[in-house]
């Protein structure tokens, strides 16, 4: 008969019977959470699709205001950060404390590079007067619907960036826990679900990049 596990300070939470149950449950929980993230960004993608259909010229013009160079660079950076995150999970699986925390730090660094580039890009848009409601003075003759394009651009990349910031905060927690030895080869689910979250953030960008940056470019 299973007994009440006295687990206040062990890796097994009081309401789980086994570590495996705990791990499976956390994984399922994160997947369920990611499904709702898909629906959230899905709503934005639906708006994008509608307005791209209505204003194809504006979307082409808007995309030409973006820098495919920076976009590509950022894509590589973010994919790289997914790699470092995967390596962090691997290190946790192997019980390497400093490796786990180190790779998380690398991920954070790459994420900050990404956000830094976005800051630069946003700055350019400010100078060009392409931020609706903040600084909007496009060249005369701009296609109708350009404002909506940029509104969607900033909303979608902004929401994505917000999710990255949340990821950064979570990474700080997980890195600290890793350094304190809270993870072991039997129990590294915290790192793993963080990894899942981060891969999802990466995936959203993989969709955003071509839809926003690569329209009309071959």
């Amino acid at each position: 008969m299973p007994e009440l596990a006295a687990t206040h300070h062990g890796p097994l939470a009081h309401h789980f019977e086994t570590l495996e149950q705990q791990k499976d449950t956390c994984t399922l929980g994160m997947w369920a959470f990611l499904v709702q993230e898909v629906m959230f960004f899905g709503g934005l993608f639906a708006c994008y699709i509608v307005y791209r259909f209505l204003y194809p010229a504006a979307f082409l013009e808007g995309a030409h205001h973006l820098s495919p160079a920076w976009g590509t660079f950022n894509t590589v950076v973010l994919i790289g950060s997914s790699l470092t995150m995967a390596l962090s999970v691997r290190a946790a699986q192997l019980g390497r404390r400093r490796g786990t925390a180190g790779f998380i730090l690398a991920t954070m660094a790459l994420a900050c590079v990404f956000l830094g580039v976005k800051w630069i890009e946003y700055g350019h848009k400010f100078e060009d007067g392409l931020i609706p409601g903040v600084a909007w003075h496009p060249e005369p003759g701009a296609a109708h619907g350009l404002r909506i394009y940029f509104g969607l651009y900033f909303t979608m990349t902004g929401m994505h960036a917000l999710h990255m910031v949340v990821g950064l905060v979570l990474m700080v927690f997980v890195a600290l826990r890793a350094l304190r030895g809270r993870y072991s080869p039997d129990n590294y689910i915290g790192v793993e679900v963080l990894g899942l979250y981060w891969h999802f953030v990466d995936l959203v960008w993989i969709f955003l990049f071509p839809l926003l940056y690569l329209l009309g470019r071959h």
């Binding site: 204003y55 010229a57 109708h144």
Partner: protein, 322 residues
Amino acid sequence: MFQDFSLFPEAASTVAGRVDELYLFLVGMTAFAATGIFSTLLFFAVRYRRRQGRKATQIEGSIPLEVLWSAVPLALFVFAFGWGAKVYLEVHNRPKDCMQFYVTGKQWMWKIQHPTGQREINALHIPVGEPIELTMISEDVIHDFFVPAFRVKRDVVPGMYTSIWFEATKVGTYHLFCAEYCGTKHSQMIGEVIVMDPADYEQWLSGQPAGADPVESGRLLFENLLCATCHEPGPRQRGPSLAGRFGTKVGTQAGRQVPFDEDYVRSSILDPMLDLSVGFEPVMQTYKGQVTETNIQHLIAYLKSIGAQPVAGETSAEGEEL
């Protein structure tokens, strides 16, 4: 409080009776189901109330019953769908040759214009027995044109034309309500539809200050705004001819086929570059800020009225220059 009290609305249009028939069928179906369920519940409640020495009989279920009470409601509901769809087509599909009225909704009033040019605010006089079509647009938020006695209703949307048609069958005065919440005075955005004998309607029309009818107003605008310069055959024609185009399809430079309808005319006036016709230079200016929604309605009325004429190099195979 008890004056004019009734439990059922008057039916004053050609479709009202058919909507009411469906409604009463659904009421009957609901009453039947509710009575059936209630009486079954009551019967079971009495018959199977807890008594000493009598235990409940455990019953798993019954596939035949499940099939029965899935299939029967499904059949009834699909029947209701079919009937509703059929009557909806009657409500939606307008006869040819309706009298064309134009309606603009704005916070918080209805502006209505008759085919012969007379204008009304919050009131609509119409002749009985004539099909009436209203082409509607809003100047601000979404409103809704609702005449309970006719059983018709349609949202009035900014930026997009919607239309509604009805044929009144009884002389009388009926409520007009705004039925989409539109802000502070939503419940004061009401009016009357006054249905009159044709002779009385004519008399009423002649008693109103005569305005130019929408088609004539539209023609004047077409000239004064210099649309004719580019859009009629002539030395400076740079845009497509518009005569007889209403109801046809336009090939746009983005590669789409869009209908030449009210919304197309409106968006071409306000944002010409959006759905530019194939084969023409992007030189048309926008008239945003220079024309009101009413102006646009008049221009539409005018364009609808100019029929197909042979134009140089376009529609006529004989290519007779005008």
